[in-house]
């Protein structure tokens, strides 16, 4: 898995590439929490376009990001879910708690 952050318009985008599983979800968790807690990012957008596979520990990291963002008064968004990633969020009944967008443009424009 590779993970990188960049600025785009009014948001910070976290680009993730590869599988998110127990082996590497601690890394993605760390990046997300750093952005929210230390850098006080107001809008954090996670790009899952290049993520084929996500397991429950990956989902847990996203849920944790969502919870922290609420505490910090920031916005936490996802976009580019593969069918497999979407299925996993649906199976865990969590798809509805996230703000999910089809594309980066839609996520950045969301009010």
């Amino acid at each position: 898995m590779q993970i990188a952050t960049r600025q785009a318009a009014n948001a910070t985008v976290v680009d993730v590439k590869g599988d998110i599983d127990l082996y590497n979800s601690p890394e993605i968790r760390k990046v997300i929490l750093e952005e929210l807690k230390e850098k006080h990012t107001a809008r954090l957008v996670v790009n899952l376009t290049n993520v084929r596979y996500i397991d429950s520990s990956g989902v847990a990291s996203l849920v944790e990001g969502l919870k922290v963002s609420k505490t910090m008064g920031s916005r936490f968004m996802l976009f580019g879910l593969s069918p497999a990633a979407r299925e996993v969020l649906e199976l865990s009944r969590l798809i509805r708690v996230f703000e999910v967008f089809a594309s980066e443009a839609e996520a950045l424009q969301a009010v």
């Binding site: 599983d21 082996y23 397991d55 429950s56 520990s57 990291s61 849920v63 199976l91 969590l94």
Partner: protein, 138 residues
């Protein structure tokens, strides 16, 4: 079960992606469609991560044995570990409408597989999972 493939691995999350590819290929070989293969792979993966975290408490050099085969018109996957067992009723997640990290794995496993049976023995813990093959013509 007529166990045909048996894989032994250490309890190190590093190897999870290798194991996923075995499960996914094997399920496909015996006749599951692409989506079912993904689901079965996810269920086995979740069960493996539970063993790593809860039975072996994150120790990465402990043995896990994965057997797969066909049984009664379905796939059967059996996971063995020698870590700390729990009573079967303790193997349960949290209510799904409570949004917080964790507690999802056992739910996913039960939703995906048709039968799940966990048994802690004196010398090992055994988790058996079974899922029916799609009816011919599906």
């Amino acid at each position: 079960m007529n166990s045909v493939l048996k894989l032994t691995m250490p309890s190190d999350p590093r190897y999870l992606s290798v194991v996923r590819s075995v499960i996914e290929r094997y399920a496909s070989l015996i006749g599951f469609g692409e989506e079912d293969c993904r689901w079965i792979t996810l269920a086995v993966h979740e069960a493996l991560t539970n063993i790593m975290r809860h039975a072996y408490h994150g120790k990465e050099d402990q043995p896990i044995e994965i057997s797969m085969g066909e049984a009664q018109g379905g796939i059967e996957v059996v996971l063995l570990d020698h870590g700390q067992g729990v009573r079967p009723e303790q193997l349960a997640g949290r209510p799904l409408d409570d949004v917080r990290p964790g507690g999802l794995g056992t739910h996913m496993i039960r939703e995906i597989m048709d039968k799940v049976h966990y048994a802690p023995y004196a010398d090992r813990n055994e988790l058996r999972m079974w899922k029916a093959k799609p009816a011919a013509g599906d």
